[in-house]
């Protein structure tokens, strides 16, 4: 998938609409702290309630294929090699070599130095290359280094940039710093799509997640993303629920759609379907599309493939029948 013209247009920077809010630290703080609070118990109960939805037959087949198309197949390890990234990219293009009808994933997600390798393998397959940048995962580096990191990835051919916010600045209430950081990284992205990672496991409260969501959306992020995968807890249903409410409310106010990407800890088809149910019921069916919802995952894909094979053949095959890349 390459960013389509319609999605580029509809996620154009929101600058202008929120000028008054981001004018000063105090006006931004007033706005973020004026957002309706989140009741923890109620939010978790709602997420748990949606997780009991039961999906059957045709919808399940649809959901599995959709989930595969939404996967950002990820490897973010110190031990990554060019060989590993090439293998992963091949898998992203043809997840199930035994079944050509199996769709490709949305993207592969790698460190910036692996972007060129991934791009070379993926070519014009339509599978995007996403690169984590801005001193991922901690985000603890000077601003010019973060921007250089971003430009480096974009120049190497990244279609999407997954940046991390400065959680230290956020938690100490320097919201404007976080806002400007996102704006600058977005500029450095050029045509590449920007996903903004909050690391919700470090933000801790749902109120913070909601504030971070609005901050990132106002700064022009194309996607808001839960986690790096390096901190526990990573993505959870309630956190994703809050973010889905935020993108829904943001569209109500501005007409612009922003995507959501839970990442880390989503391992099974059952989990993925719970997320899709939540997307459908909270944000609405418009978000049931790889342009607007992604899974940051590695092991999830094989479980999706196993369930997919089960749906078509009626039998489970063992893990040895699926590639381990």
């Amino acid at each position: 998938m390459t960013p389509t013209s319609s999605s580029t247009a509809s996620t154009a920077s929101s600058a202008g609409v929120f000028d008054d809010i981001v004018r000063s630290e105090s006006s931004l703080r007033r706005f973020l702290h004026g957002l309706p609070g989140v009741d923890q118990v109620g939010c978790e109960a709602r997420a748990a309630g949606l997780a009991t939805r039961s999906i059957k037959t045709t919808s399940k087949a649809f959901a599995i294929d959709l989930a595969i198309r939404m996967v950002d197949l990820t490897t973010l390890e110190g031990q990554d090699t060019h060989g590993k990234v090439r293998a992963l990219a091949s898998k992203a293009m043809r997840p199930d070599p035994a079944d050509p009808s199996c769709p490709a994933t949305a993207a592969v997600c790698v460190y910036p130095d692996m972007v060129a390798t991934a791009k070379q393998t993926l070519g014009e397959s339509g599978v995007n290359v996403a690169a984590v940048a801005t001193a991922f995962p901690s985000g603890r580096a000077a601003m010019d280094i973060k921007l250089a990191d971003t430009r480096d990835a974009v120049e190497a051919g990244a279609d999407e940039i997954d940046m991390v916010i400065d959680r230290g600045a956020f938690l100490s209430g320097r919201y404007l710093d976080v806002y400007e950081e996102i704006v600058q990284v977005k500029e450095a992205c050029g045509d590449a799509h920007l996903k903004v990672i909050f690391e919700t496991g470090e933000l801790q409260t749902y109120d913070n997640v909601r504030r971070a969501s609005w901050l990132a959306m106002m700064a022009g992020g194309h996607f808001i993303k839960t986690s790096t995968g390096k901190v526990q807890p990573a993505a959870t249903l309630p956190v994703t629920l809050i973010m889905l409410e935020a993108v829904r409310d943001f569209r109500d106010q501005t007409g612009q759609m922003v995507g959501v990407k839970p990442a880390g800890g989503i391992k099974t088809t059952k989990d993925a379907i719970k997320y899709l149910v939540m997307v459908n019921e909270i944000a609405g069916p418009d978000w049931l599309d790889p342009d607007w919802f992604r899974f940051g995952a590695s092991t999830l894909l094989n479980d999706l493939l196993m369930q997919r094979t089960k749906m078509t053949t009626g039998r489970y095959s063992g893990p040895d029948y699926f590639t381990l890349d």
Partner: protein, 479 residues
Amino acid sequence: MSNIFEYAPAPESRAVVDIKPSYGLFINGEFVDGHGTSFKTVNPATEEVLAEVAEANDADVDEAVKAARRAYTRVWSRMSGAERAKYLYRIARIIQERGRELAVLESIDNGKPIKESRDVDIPVVAAHFFYYAGWADKLEHSGYGSTPLGVAGQVIPWNFPLLMLAWKIAPALACGNTVVLKPAETTPLTALLFAEICQQADLPPGVVNIVTGAGDTGRAIVSHPDVDKVAFTGSTEVGKAIARAVAGTEKKVTLELGGKAANIVFDDAPLDQAIEGIVNGIFFNQGHVCCAGSRLLVQESVADEVMERLKRRMATLRVGDPLDKNTDVGAINSAEQLAKIRELSDIGEAEGAERWSTPCELPTNGYWFAPTVFTGVSQAHRIAREEIFGPVLSVLTFRTPSEAVEKANNTPFGLSAGVWTDKGSRILSMANRLRAGVVWANTFNKFDPTSPFGGYKESGYGREGGRHGLEAYLKGADS
């Protein structure tokens, strides 16, 4: 962009339940024939006749009370609390083991979604038996003494058939009383299955007697001279009749009656969760809940936003087959109740309130009513004053906390209320000023056996649940 992400039907299997063609009365540990005119119980979702059920006449009720009295004097009141507890624990465990069967049967007979009978009703039923089993050998620490009253006559409604049974039977038995219980005529099946569970648990004969029938059977129980205690949950109208019937007798009475609860949303509330609470408050169990949040009081400054969000959320409610695991709102329990809901809703419209119902398709057979909300309602409207007991919400607005309290308390009822705000101090001050037995803060319709439940004013008297619930079944500390 695809929109085919629809939920295919996911029905819970009916195979786990075995509905007999006809049922007798459960008296003295055995099923016996009734001598009244038997009646049919139907599945409200399909209008299918489920079973023929015996009606207990005065003589049958007399037999049941005699059996209860015998069991009381010879066995149950003499048994140590620890021994009684063993039976209650055993019943609680059997309820858990047969939970799926009970849940499916409850949904078939009552019309409530399986999601609720499976995740709320049956687990809370088991929890009640476990909780009161724990009290049975500790009554001297209850503050109400440890002397039982005798035979309890109990009449329960159709909205939570087995749960109301548990609320009545568990504390009664824990305290050493025996019972004669009448389930509602439209939902007798789980009570009769509970009778089987009593047999399975080897409960001594006569400790629990279940007699089925309608108003006449209930009257026979309440007015029976050898009944020491009357416990009733149901309409305020019948509650008043019972209060009159027992006036001047030695009988102790607890009544848990109607409600018209105010669910109060302040402008600083966690709005998304408040919307869930409003939905849960009025559409849980099709609104067949005495403590339902049927009056939404919303602060004017957020009224438009709340209504917009509420309607969007209501549009996602799935109305239909109660046995489908994805169903949120099931069937109205009876044709009679449906007619009452329709009548009051039509009156609401005629009186000038604005009606909005979710655009959902309703099944052709059975009794159904789409989730409905009325805006522009004033205190003078009948839909703001009378209990509708259906999925119908009346929305009023307020400007200040005092106005919210005034409006919330301006009702003959006083069973429950809800407060939604992020401000802890406001929750406490509101809870002090609201004249309601239960005040929920940032949640609604939560039930737990450790928490007492009961009303002010026309919502009845006495408390059920918790330590307070023991008072209704003990003679008191001085006796």
